[in-house]
């Protein structure tokens, strides 16, 4: 794994959606590694390197779905942004909901941005490309302690 590889954590319970996202990122230009967590509790464990996730890598970007089992995406978001070590990681809420209340609540909980998953494949691919070109290309991400330098 090259040190230039961007680590992305995708918190998404729908396997189909996860795979689509994976395929979309594969078509991208930036080298990236996508890890998928299917529920919020696991995702937080992964982020905190608890249990089986002791050797997990801190992601550079978190893509978060709001509709998750056990712990809702909002709860996960709240916890991430409350955690000193995790709150600097940009969280992109990527969900099917276009409800204005959801959007407002996400931003008030300090989500970095909110994207509604388009139903159309082409559009979806373009959205992933946009995420890539914005968050992974244009934007300057904070350096994380665990990043191996060199």
């Amino acid at each position: 794994m090259s040190s230039n590889t961007i680590e992305i954590l995708l918190v998404e319970d729908n396997a189909g959606d996860a795979r689509l996202t994976l395929e979309a990122f594969k078509e991208g230009k930036v080298l990236n590694h996508l890890t998928v967590m299917q529920d919020g509790v696991q995702a937080l464990a992964y982020l905190r390197r608890q249990g089986p996730y002791a050797s997990a890598r801190t992601p550079d970007l978190i893509l978060l779905d709001l509709n998750l089992p056990r712990m809702s995406g909002r709860e996960v978001l709240a916890q991430i942004k409350a955690d000193e070590r995790l709150k600097t990681i940009p969280v992109v809420v990527l969900t099917t909901s276009e409800d204005t209340q959801d959007i407002a609540r996400a931003y008030s909980q300090h989500a970095n941005c909110y994207i509604t998953k388009p139903v159309d494949l082409e559009q979806f691919l373009r959205v992933i490309q946009s995420i890539e070109s914005f968050w992974l290309t244009l934007v300057r991400l904070p350096a994380n302690g665990e990043r191996s330098v060199g």
């Binding site: 729908n14 189909g16 689509l20 099917t96 139903v119 159309d120 494949l121 082409e122």
Partner: protein
Amino acid sequence: MTTNPPLVGSYDDVLVALSVVIAIMSAYAALDLARRVTFARGWSRILWLTGGAIAMGFGIWSMHYMGMLAFRLPVPVQYDWPTVMLSLIAAIVASAVALVVVSRPKMGLQRALLGSVLMGGGIAAMHYTGMEAMRMPAMCSYSIGLVALSVILAVVISLVALWLTFRFRKVAAAWSWRKSISALVMGLAIPIMHYTGMAAVTFTPSTMMHDDLSHAISVSSLGVTAIGLATFVILGAVLLSNLRFESLPTARQLIARYFLSLGLISVLAILGMLLVEHQGGETRVEARTINIAGRQRMLSQAIAKDAVLMGRSSDVAERIRVAADLQALDALWEKSHAALQHGDTELGLSGINSPAIRELFTAVQPDFTAMAEAARALVERSATRSASTDPAAAVDVILTRERTFLRGMEAIVFQYDREASFPDRTGSRLQMALLLSVLGVLLVQGILVLRPALANIHQGISQLELAKQALQHKSEELARSNAELEQFAYVASHDLQEPLRMVASYTQLLARRYQGKLDRDADEFIGFAVDGATRMQTLIRDLLSYSRVMTQGRSLQPVDTRRAFDAARENLHKAIEESGVNLSVGALPVIHADATQMTQLFQNLLGNALKYRNEQAPRIHVDAKPDEKSWLFSVQDNGIGIEPQYFERIFQMFQRLHTREKYSGTGIGLAICRRIVERHGGRIWVESEAGRGSTFLFAIPRA
């Protein structure tokens, strides 16, 4: 003493009027009975025929007798009851003939003529038999011409009556104007015939009673009342039985019964008043009789006095004076004597005396005759002025006879007095009976009308209550079910999105990755799958937006429809530019609406107008016109138009008139428009001519 000038009768107006009323009632009853007999079969037909003939015959006979009793002669009139009964039978037979004739399926001219001859003959027979029943000190002589006229009238009236009855026998309505008018005509015609018959008769008084008096009865006011009562009851029963209350709605039934009871009470009251009136009349006659009988005593004494004076006086002048006085007294005395026995209209005496009185008069007659002769002799002698003739004998006769006469007259006066008190009891009994009947009718009315009416009202109210509750319940249920359906539709289409997205996305991914890499069939299959999935997505999306009209509808606020239109135009600006459409808009008002939905509405309609254009340069005009209750908006285009048979269909969900290749869209647009308009309480429709363009109109109620 026989006089030749005919007796002049007079008519009691009240009884005449009553007889006409009876005639009209009989006529109406006849019409009813005709209907009953026509429709009855078998035994009930015979029953109706018999009963009807009796009732109708009784009515006609009663009319005749009321007319007879209304006719007052200066002599006492009595009736031979067997003959009276015979006339009643004649009337019943005539009625039976009439009913049989009119109840036949057909009535040709022959049968009608035959029937009217029989019926008219029967009525004439009844009339003249009735006349024959009269027992009085007078003779009847008939004018042949008038008799013939009355018989002809009877036949003609029968013909008319038969025709009218036959014509209206099938009229089922209990009351109908036609029947009422026919009854009126017939009811007036019968008295005409009767009074013509009466005019045919002349009564010449005679002292010889050459008829058998053994069955003669006098008809007092009691008799009149009894006949009247019986008639009303019988005819009333016929009419009552006919009022088919069951066919009327309950409210009308009760009203009919109520008015019937009122009518009955009025009739009874009128009869009672008639009775009292006649009683009074009789009492007056009795009083007058007693008065005049008493006066006879005074007169006889005055005559005696004058006789003595004449006998004593030698002065001629005085004699002449006294003679004149005596003459006057005697004239009055003799007249009163005759009047008491035979009746006199001037003195107001009926002349109807009981056997006891008659006997007393017979006893006193020799005294009377002797006195009268003597008095007249005295008067005559004074006129001849001969002093030679001796009046002493005459005076003696007068004096001696006068004593016995006085005693006899005394007895008569006391007898009159004794007899006068009798009728009172029966009269008052009848009055009591009438009063009780009235009370009875009121009571029955209370039971048959008031109680059911109140029960009806109560029932009506409680039914109303129940209906209201049921309605409320139903509307609550409906609202609940609606809400559930809305919810269901929303959730269903919402939850369908996700798996649909999977299918659509992965088939598209397949297409992307493997297009051209597999065989041509695979390409085609994938193409169809993708196409299907995409279309399903669109359909679900449309369904979602359709259901959102209600679930995401906002409350109605004042909305500037011009702004909504502008927003829609903005959303479609690309299509507008591309089409180069000439879009014009009139003054659009501020109305109570949901702004978003108004924009949606305009957008759909504008979009359609743009989509369904023809080769011409497209022109669209949007306008609004106020109505008394609403605003009428119109979106008019010059596109391809719509055929009339589709005017309704296009507003239904997913209904399209063209293939997908020609025009895009799922066909939900207008259904959404209709939903939005209906949510605002309005109505949407289209006016169009195929090939010339369409105008979509929707009316939104103001405030």
